[in-house]
Every structure is written in structure tokens, then in C-alpha cells.
């Protein structure tokens, strides 16, 4: 009999943290797919390193979120219960992270978009009213800077490399850009976090994000598609079709070995 799913607190503070932790986790999951398959050995090591950092961040944030559930009158959970026993609808990662790994251009562009965002977010979270979160952020912001450098350098190389690399980078922008507005959508989860000082509204990071990403894409010689009305909704638990497959793969062992100890 497979292991049953857990119920997660609806508390907006918990959800705010789950958005952060889940985004790191699912992005790490996609990056891990490059292991042994990167274009050159040095990049295999680099991408795996980034994935490792993100897993570390996910673990720290999910652990904090799980403890917060208990502090807020719900059932506490640990990082693994949250990662392996939640249903899809309770995962709050950005849809951007669950899109397939894609080619190297898709990967570095996605990394650039997310790392830039996280750098700005972690910087703000360093002054979170929650000391645990502030501590996590102090370490994570250094990692995010490193991830951003790595990704931005590659965006420039691909944009200014060969015709093929620029075309692939353009295709990556066309493909991923529609999923970026979700980063800055506002809702009551953000409001609650801003009120208590847990963290900033993500919408406040938009200007800073654009100020870094847009010149980067310009310098790389790629155009952004015109804005659309489409909004992805992973942050609210309604994901793309890809999420089901990711979770099936990620959760399979815990689901098939209920009560297992690893």
C-alpha cells in the first residue's frame, strides 16, 4: 500500500516559504538531469554544483517551513515529508522551474532568470523578521551571486557565439519568457509575509530584476517576446503537465516503501 500524502498548513507564512523552497527544489531536480550529459566535463561539474547548492537551500527552507507549520498550530513536518509526501496541488514552485530541461541555452537562460531573482530575494530575506530565514539567506545570497555570474556569462557566450547558439538562445527566450511574469504576481501570501516582516512581496523585486536581465539579453543580442496575458500559476499550486511527471519520479521510492527508513 503506497504511502499516503500529507496535508499541509494553509497558513500564508508557511506558503511563502514553500514557494521559495519548492522553487529551489524543482529547479535542482531539472539541473540534476544534466549529470553526465553536459557539453563538456567542466560544465557537468558546474551544473551539478549549482544543483547541490539549490538542494541545500531547499532543505533549509523546507525544514523551516515544516517547523513553522507546528508553530502556527498545525502539524509540523520535516523536509522529506514535505518533499516526498505532498500532493502536486500543495507544491508552490514557479511553473518556470518545472519545464523540461531543454538544451543548454534553455538551461542557462532559466538559470540566469532564476538566479538573478533569487539574488534579489535572498538579499531582502537577510533582514527577515525570522532569524532562521535570515541565516539561510545570508549563505544563499552568495551562492545565488555565483549562479548568476555563471549563467549570465553563458548567456553572453551563446548570444555572441555562433549563429546556431544565438538562434537557440532566442528560441529559449521565446519559450521561457512567458513564464517570468509569474515571479512578480501579487497575492495575499505576499501581503501576509510583508506585514509580518518574513519577506518582501515578490512584486517589489521586478524593477531590480528587469534592470539586470534586460540589459543582459540586449547585450546577448536576443529580443524579448511582447507581453501576453498568459500567466502561469505554479505559485498557487496549479502547475503545468510537467509537474506530475517530476513528482512521480522524485517521490517514487518514498511512495512505494511506506514506513521506509533511508
Amino acid at each position: 500500500m503506497p504511502a499516503a500524502s500529507i496535508d499541509v498548513a494553509r497558513d500564508p507564512h508557511v506558503q511563502y516559504l514553500l514557494r521559495v523552497g519548492d522553487t529551489c527544489l524543482i529547479q535542482a531536480q531539472r539541473l540534476a538531469e544534466w549529470c553526465g550529459h553536459a557539453p563538456v566535463l567542466e560544465e557537468d561539474i558546474a551544473l551539478t554544483n549549482i544543483a547541490l547548492d539549490l538542494v541545500g537551500q531547499a532543505r533549509a527552507v523546507l525544514s523551516r517551513a515544516g517547523r513553522l507549520e507546528g508553530e502556527r498550530g498545525g502539524v509540523p513536518h520535516d523536509e522529506d515529508e514535505l518533499a516526498f509526501l505532498r500532493d502536486e496541488r500543495d507544491f508552490l514552485n514557479l511553473t518556470l522551474t518545472e519545464l523540461p530541461r531543454g538544451d543548454f541555452a534553455v538551461t542557462v537562460l532559466r538559470n540566469a532568470a532564476l538566479a538573478t531573482f533569487f539574488k534579489l530575494l535572498w538579499q531582502r530575506l537577510e533582514s527577515s523578521s525570522d532569524p532562521d530565514v535570515a541565516g539561510i539567506a545570508a549563505k544563499a545570497v552568495k551562492e545565488a551571486r555565483y549562479h548568476q555570474r555563471h549563467a549570465a556569462d553563458w548567456v553572453l557566450r551563446l548570444g555572441g557565439g555562433t549563429d546556431e547558439s544565438r538562434q537557440r538562445l532566442q528560441a529559449a527566450v521565446d519559450h521561457l519568457w512567458p513564464y517570468t511574469p509569474e515571479l512578480f504576481d501579487a497575492d495575499d501570501v505576499d501581503d501576509a509575509a510583508a506585514s509580518s516582516g518574513l519577506g518582501p512581496r515578490w512584486a517589489e523585486l521586478e524593477a531590480g530584476w528587469r534592470a539586470e536581465i534586460e540589459p543582459l539579453l540586449d547585450e546577448a543580442g536576443v529580443k524579448r517576446p511582447p507581453p501576453r496575458a498568459f500567466r502561469s500559476t505554479g505559485k498557487r499550486g496549479v502547475h503545468s503537465e510537467h509537474m506530475g511527471y517530476i513528482l512521480a519520479e522524485m517521490q517514487t521510492l518514498q511512495r512505494s516503501y511506506p514506513g521506509g527508513v533511508w
Binding site: V40, E42, I45, A46, N49, Y146, R149, H150, D153, R157
Partner: protein, 110 residues
């Protein structure tokens, strides 16, 4: 940029025609007060990449380490090894590597 070359006696395979990323030697100072130590080499297409990779590979991103990267072919070496009678074009290089010398295309089949 130099094309890859064969070492004496080995066959040149078609895929070698594409450029190889240049080779860089890596030197790391793990703690203030110590010397930089040679750790090994890696391939990178430019200096920024070489530094980042050296951090990933040779320091596992420890804070406070200082990293030098140098194109391997640019290091001038003097080794107290046996002096050979015949001319050795690699005499001042750190080691024999197929890409350390760019030959004119007319003789670039060795």
C-alpha cells in the same frame, strides 16, 4: 587560436578538426600567508570561465582562496632535466601538449 595537432606518430581523427578549448594551469592559495600551489589543469574557452571552473573543481568553492589561471602554453619553463643534444621545441614549455604550438597550415599535419 591554435588548431589541435597530433603528437608524433598518432593518427589525426576527423573530429579533432574542431577547435579544442585551450588548456589552463591552475594555481591555488588556500590560506593567506601561503604560496600559490599548482593543482592541475582544465579546459576553458576564456579566463572568466577558467577562474569559475577552477573554483568549482580545485577549491570546491571554499571562501578566501586565491586562484591564478594561466594559459598552459604561456608558461615559460626551465627544467633541470637532462639536456638533449637535438633541438626540442618544447624545451621552454611546461609539458608536451599537442596544442601548445600553432604551426603554419602548410606543415600542420604532424
Amino acid at each position: 587560436m591554435s588548431d589541435t595537432q597530433k603528437t608524433e606518430g598518432s593518427a589525426r581523427a576527423p573530429t579533432e578538426a574542431r577547435g579544442e578549448w585551450p588548456l589552463w594551469e591552475v594555481f591555488v592559495r588556500s590560506k593567506a600567508g601561503l604560496d600559490h600551489k599548482h593543482c592541475g589543469s582544465l579546459h576553458a574557452s576564456d579566463a572568466a570561465m577558467a577562474i569559475q571552473m577552477a573554483r568549482d573543481v580545485y577549491t570546491r568553492r571554499q571562501e578566501g582562496t586565491s586562484i591564478w589561471v594561466v594559459r598552459s602554453e604561456q608558461i615559460v619553463a626551465s627544467d633541470p632535466a637532462e639536456k638533449d643534444a637535438y633541438f626540442d621545441p618544447m624545451a621552454d614549455k611546461v609539458y608536451r601538449h599537442p596544442t601548445f604550438y600553432a604551426l603554419p597550415k602548410s606543415v600542420d599535419h604532424m
